[in-house]
């Protein structure tokens, strides 16, 4: 890579601002720009919808049949010929920027995503705007970072801030956006990252609300706390939601795999074919078209019977799978929420019919269902919980939400090991780090590697001869010394022997002979910390009790650490 001009962060002499603080200010700016982009994106989607399908929520049959198919053809050509990076939802593309492209997202990808997604979603394809918003925000952030010539580590991070801003503006949910980006895109928690992401999300939401108002995407009726006995129903919802998620994931991924195996020229037509099928379904059930916020609204207000809920849920799963598998640009967040709303509504209706005295308002089941499918499909459990809490502003639903989400997540994890974004990334030839796999891996700690000290701990007042006399043949070459008030140090057996040979010399006490103070480890420290500390001249480190640093609980050496790592080889990844 050519030498970069001096980063704006370094060159600009911010009065009383360090580089980190300047980066936080930049995060605010990125959030604002991401919001502006998302506002334009939402207007574009709605304008496309108005132009293509008309202003009625129930378009005419002719439009339903023609528009998704024709627009699908246009989108297919645009994606294949001009904007190949616009394909898909946008989450993996943002992760690729972080892990593969050093934070680089070409502006053409942003433009392509903007145009093709707004056409696709506006024409009725069963996809949502949130994931593209994430990528659009990330793309703008990447451009800003390149213009400002940020250093590589900051440039790599900037798209994540834009992603959080884009998602927060799209969803009007800053907390959920922050959690999703941290959970799924960045994959790690640190104070610096978290602060920047939060600032970007908050700035973005503020600006988006300035333009689009603070009204929620759908109107949430009042919901109240739940009888504990009803939690069983929400457990059932979790199980059913998990199964629905597995069905969707298998359908979408298998269809995608199959369609990818077809000749390349068919990819021009796949979005059109998906659009035609979705339009056909839409003739009978227009509720399955588009992102589906109106359907969620209708579900919340009890417009459907249980049969209709169930049919719509199945059809939404089918249509979203078709749109997704065909590579039509657009996201999965909104359709996932719709699927969840419909599954939740089904269970809610059945509960009300069978146990009328033990049935909360239907809206509660719809809301919990939304979170449930979010956890099952996208495997972002914390995001799903906080998103629903943000949407409702009602904490009383947290218990049923936790029950249902957890079960759905576990069912989905059991039957579909790899999350959908990871599978899709591999299908696209990218090996991106899987935040879920990282999450599921057990963290190795010092206690996994340490062993009991064989050699006695020497006292500083002992002479070298006395110390040597106490050492057995298997005590090792590096012996620990503990001096109250000073801490732990060590001495080599050779040095002791040399000092003992010159017994009559001054300063042959162990305390005088021992090496500099050793760093201390505790059993719960990550093993990574021990690996960093173990040095050639500190071959052995003490592992001490947290409440009493003079109490030795074990020792750890480089060999111990490496043996532990070798003993935990991860299993091969499944797809």
């Amino acid at each position: 890579m050519s030498a970069r001009p001096d980063s704006w962060l370094r060159r600009f002499n911010w009065p009383r601002l360090g580089e980190e603080q300047a980066f936080l200010l930049l995060a605010v700016f990125v959030g604002i720009v991401a919001a502006l982009a998302v506002v334009c994106f939402r207007v574009a989607i709605e304008s496309a919808r108005l132009f293509l399908l008309g202003s009625s929520l129930r378009p005419s049959p002719l439009r339903l049949v023609l528009v998704p198919a024709v627009v699908g053809l246009v989108v297919g050509v645009l994606v294949q010929r001009f904007f190949p990076r616009a394909r898909g939802s946008g989450v993996n593309q943002t992760k690729a920027a972080l892990y593969v492209d050093d934070g680089h997202i070409p502006f053409s990808a942003v433009t392509g995503k903007f145009v093709t997604s707004s056409l696709a979603i506006g024409s009725g394809h069963s996809l949502g705007p949130e994931d593209p918003s994430l990528q659009i925000g990330a793309g703008f952030a990447s451009v800003i970072g390149r213009v400002l010539h940020l250093p590589r580590e900051k440039l790599r991070l900037l798209p994540s801030l834009g992603a959080a801003g884009g998602l927060a503006a799209a969803f009007n949910s800053p907390i959920a956006a922050v959690l999703f980006v941290i959970e799924e895109v960045i994959g790690r928690w640190s104070a610096g990252v978290l602060g920047a992401v939060i600032l970007s999300a908050v700035a973005s939401v503020s600006v988006a609300q300035w333009f689009l108002g603070a009204d929620p995407l759908f109107r949430v009726p009042e919901v109240h706390s739940v009888d504990p006995r009803e939690l069983l129903a929400f457990a059932v919802l979790g199980l059913v939601g998990g199964i629905a998620a597995v069905i969707f994931l298998n359908l979408a991924l298998n269809a995608r795999r199959r369609l990818y195996g077809w000749p390349a020229w068919t990819r021009y037509l796949q979005p059109a074919a998906a659009g035609a099928l979705i339009g056909g379904v839409g003739l009978a059930y227009p509720e399955v078209l588009g992102a589906g916020y109106e359907t969620i609204d209708a579900a919340l207000h009890g417009e459907f019977s249980w049969r209709t809920f169930a049919v719509l849920a199945a059809l939404k799963i089918l249509c979203t799978s078709l749109s997704f598998a065909s590579g039509t640009p657009g996201g999965l967040f909104a359709p996932t929420l719709v699927m969840g709303a419909l599954v939740g509504g089904t269970i809610g209706r059945i509960q009300a019919a069978w146990f009328p005295d033990l049935a909360s308002p239907l809206a509660l089941y719809v809301l919990v269902g939304m979170g449930t499918l979010f956890a099952g499909n996208l495997r972002a459990p914390m995001t799903s919980i906080f998103m629903i809490l943000e949407i409702t502003g009602n904490y009383t639903i947290v218990v049923p939400l936790l029950v249902s989400n957890t079960l759905a997540y576990l069912v989905s994890f059991k039957f579909q090991r790899a999350p959908i974004f990871d599978v899709v990334a591999r299908m696209d030839g990218m090996d991106l780090p899987s935040t879920e796999e990282q999450r599921e891996q057990s963290i190795l700690r010092v206690e996994n590697a340490m062993r009991t000290a064989v050699a006695p701990v020497l006292k500083p007042g002992e002479t070298a001869a006395q110390a040597l006399a106490r050492l057995g043949p298997d005590a090792g070459d590096f012996i620990l010394v503990h001096e109250p008030g000073r801490g732990w140090s060590g001495i080599t057996r050779a040095r002791l022997a040399h000092a003992a040979d010159h017994d009559g010399a001054v300063d042959n006490r162990v305390g005088e002979l021992s090496e500099a103070v050793l760093p201390q480890l505790h059993p719960d420290h990550p093993l990574e910390a021990a690996l960093r500390l173990v040095q050639e001249w500190w071959p052995l480190l003490p592992v001490v009790h947290r409440a009493d640093s003079s109490r030795l609980v074990g020792v750890v050496s480089l060999d111990d650490i490496l043996a532990t790592y070798r003993g935990r080889v991860p299993p091969p990844r499944s797809t």
Partner: protein, 374 residues
């Protein structure tokens, strides 16, 4: 570079403002258009079309409470109560004191049999805020609540609201008559009579008011006034069976009640005699319908297993010989003896076939006398 970025951002902001502003303006227009279509559909009774139109209007104006209220009303008309309730509860959560919202919620609850909830919302609507015609709205709401209380049998609550409502009602004959009938239903004949009199003051020929006044007077024991009102009502509505029957009973009571104050001895004797003859005739008719042979001779031995009618007749028949004014003056207690027998006979004969006005009249006289006794 920095300046370029800043300029670009400002330009982006301006473009976004323009685009968003244009979009907002357009959707406002769309919302109004769809709302107008909804109003037109509601006006011609096409509730389903109205719902669809208001849903479209709401989609383009999410925060608009008025449109949402119209959507809820359209849903009520389309008999989609659950959805209507959902929208109304959301509106109520934002403005719990809104009169219109509470009224619609009350109506939904009443239709679904949730009376306690309906009463709560009706009360909230009566005391809530109304955008226009607040007085009329509150009055009409109170009237609905009264009707609910009457249906539930909560008469004291209904009466309390009627009392509160009465001063606000116009002195229209029909309105006052309805008020009077409601008071009668709650068991307040005095207040009912006042309302009926107000109705008659507005329209002296209003037959329903006259009938109501007659009924109220009758319940108050003023049979003379009752007769007067009922005869006036009967003149207007000669074929009304309720008026005819009430008039007949009132007339019989008036002519047979010996306990009316300020009666002469002759008048009292006349009334006792008529009551006796009426009771005897009823017993004979009852016996004939059951093919029972009656005996007037008090000395005849009691037949084992004889029906109660036979015994009642045997006891009552001999009393008829001593009903002259002189006999009653000599033995005032005889009136009570005769009337007790007459009332006992009426209790028996009221179950003998359809209830006759004579039976009702005699029973009323008996009840009135029991009520008046210390």
């Amino acid at each position: 570079m920095l300046a370029g970025l800043a300029a670009g951002s400002i330009a982006f902001f301006v473009v976004t403002s323009t685009v968003a502003g244009a979009y907002r303006g357009h959707v406002e227009v769309l919302s109004k258009e769809w709302a107008a279509r909804g109003e037109a559909a509601l006006a011609v009774g096409q509730a389903s079309e109205a719902v669809e139109a208001f849903e479209n209007a709401q989609h383009y104006a999410r925060g608009d409470g008025k449109t949402r209220m119209r959507l809820a009303e359209a849903l009520v008309r389309a008999k989609r109560g659950e959805e209507a309730r959902s929208h109304l509860m959301a509106l109520w959560a934002k403005a719990p004191g809104e009169g219109r919202v509470n009224l619609e919620l009350a109506r939904l609850a009443a239709a679904e049999g949730r009376d306690e909830e309906a009463v709560r919302h009706y009360d909230a609507a009566i005391h809530g805020s109304w955008e226009a015609a607040a007085d009329v709205s509150r009055r009409e709401t109170r009237q609905e609540l009264i009707a609910l209380h009457l249906r539930r049998g909560a008469l004291p609550q209904a009466e309390a609201h009627l009392i509160a409502l009465a001063p606000d009602l116009p002195k229209d004959a029909r309105v006052q008559t309805d008020l009077g009938l409601s008071f009668l239903h709650t068991g307040s004949p005095r207040r009912a009579l006042a309302a009926f009199k107000a109705a008659l003051a507005s329209d002296p020929l209003f037959a329903q008011a006259a009938a109501g006044a007659g009924e109220a007077s009758f319940r108050l024991g003023d049979h003379a006034a009752a007769l007067r009102y009922l005869r006036a009502a009967a003149l207007q509505l000669p074929d009304d069976p309720a008026i005819t029957r009430t008039l007949a009973i009132t007339d019989l009571v008036f002519r047979m009640d010996p306990y009316r104050p300020r009666l002469s001895a002759a008048g009292r004797a006349r009334r006792v005699g008529l009551a006796w003859r009426t009771a005897i005739a009823r017993l004979e008719a009852c016996a004939a319908s059951r093919q029972i042979v009656l005996s007037k001779d008090p000395r005849a031995p009691a037949l084992p297993g004889a029906p109660p009618v036979w015994h009642a007749y045997r006891q009552l028949a001999p009393l008829g010989s001593q009903l002259s004014a002189e006999a009653l003056r000599r033995d005032p207690e005889r009136i009570d003896v005769v009337m007790d027998g007459v009332v006992a006979a009426a209790r028996m004969t009221e179950t003998c076939g359809p209830k006759e006005p004579a039976d009702e009249a005699l029973l009323l006289i008996g009840r009135q006398h029991e009520a008046d006794e210390p």
